[in-house]
């Protein structure tokens, strides 16, 4: 999706895009389609950057996704709201980590450990 298309999208559509992309990441990860997963990361980062650039940092619109039924959507929503909703996003990461369902548990644990070490600064 072109940067201009993203710029023209209302926030609600950007959140829809984020949900769709991260749901497709779940499928790609489940079936070990690493190339697909990694290319979806680029798409997701573009959407998250666009939300961040909107007045007032509209990544806050991702907060409701912290309770999405798909654990990959929850994981990525938590990653991008750590600086905006630190308690809720960390709780989501902790729950994903505790559930021990790979790969989301692995990524959630990795982020929590990085936060604990101070290697990761929420923005």
């Amino acid at each position: 999706m072109s940067p201009q298309l993203l710029k023209d999208m209302p926030v609600v559509e950007l959140v829809n895009q984020f949900t769709e992309i991260t749901s497709r990441q779940y499928d790609a990860a489940l079936f070990g389609n690493i190339t697909k997963y990694n290319s979806l990361v680029d798409q997701m980062l573009a959407v998250a950057d666009e939300l961040k650039s909107r007045p007032g940092d509209q990544r806050s619109a991702l907060v409701p996704l912290l309770v999405h039924p798909n654990r990959q959507v929850r994981l990525m929503a938590a990653e991008f709201t750590l600086g905006l909703a630190p308690v809720a996003s960390r709780q989501t990461l902790q729950e994903l980590s505790d559930a021990k369902v790979y790969p989301q548990s692995a990524y959630a644990m990795g982020t929590l450990r990085a936060l604990q070490r101070g290697d990761r600064k929420p923005t």
Binding site: S23, L30, S60, A61, A85, R113, R120
Partner: protein, 242 residues
């Protein structure tokens, strides 16, 4: 009736009852497994047309008419793009999938669900015969964590792989000697599917590494950093004891 005949009849009846009970137990396990897989696959298709209250709130997890900021959902509604899917979720294939990535995907998803449900891999293989070849690997997936010493001193059997804590391919490319790469200190015996997960993790872009893959992040870094990340990889797939 002779005493021997009576004993024989009794033994046969007992065997029939036991066999029936075992069959019922197996059917119950299979049903639980099928339902779990159904739920698992349906989750992939779930359309969250209505937001829920985030955790940390008194009504956390409940469906809501407003979002986290109290705005009406009509303005901040979250849903998947496109129509809600109407087709049935995909079934675990009865025939062996043609491609390796499909097989690995189904095996991992199935092993994970079976482990969650406490179902033995051998029972799964009765339902999906093509998985029988991988039963040992599926069974070892639910192994409890072991100490690093135990993992380093174990002998690899069916369903287990020898894993290099510092990845051998990259270490070799960067000129590390084979003696270091293959030293007992760098080798652990781990469940095969955990090994697959670690390989997948090394190739997947992750926020922990600035959205690089761990493998890219480690390129050119020293042995100690590679080992530290290698030990981290083992921990996050739950192989060693915490």
């Amino acid at each position: 009736m002779l005493a021997e005949d009576f004993e024989l009849q009794r033994a046969l009846a007992l065997r029939a009852v036991t066999g029936g009970l075992l069959r019922l137990r197996w059917l119950a396990a299979v049903t639980r497994f099928e339902l779990a897989m159904h739920r698992h696959m349906r989750a992939l298709k779930y359309n969250p047309d209505q937001p829920r209250v985030p955790r940390g709130n008194p009504d956390g997890g409940q469906w809501t008419e407003t979002d986290a900021n109290g705005n009406p959902v009509a303005q901040r509604r979250v849903r998947l793009a496109g129509d809600a899917p109407t087709n049935d979720p995909p079934e675990v294939p009865k025939e062996r999938p043609k491609t390796s990535s499909e097989r690995v995907g189904w095996l991992k998803a199935t092993a994970r669900t079976a482990a969650e449900q406490g179902i033995a891999a051998v029972e799964v293989a009765k339902l999906y015969p093509w998985m029988a070849y991988y039963a040992a690997g599926m069974q070892s997936y639910s192994d409890p964590p072991r100490s690093l010493d135990e993992l380093q001193s174990a002998t690899p059997g069916p369903g287990y792989d020898i894993h290099h804590i510092v990845e051998q391919g990259q270490a070799e490319d960067e000129g590390y000697p084979r003696e270091a790469i293959d030293s007992p200190d760098n080798l652990v015996v781990i469940p095969r599917m955990k090994h697959w997960e670690i390989n997948q993790w090394y190739q997947t872009r992750s926020p922990e590494f600035g959205w690089q893959t761990p493998r890219d992040y480690l390129e050119g870094r020293n042995w100690a950093v590679k080992r530290s990340v290698g030990l981290e990889a083992l921990k996050i797939v739950g192989v060693p004891k915490p």
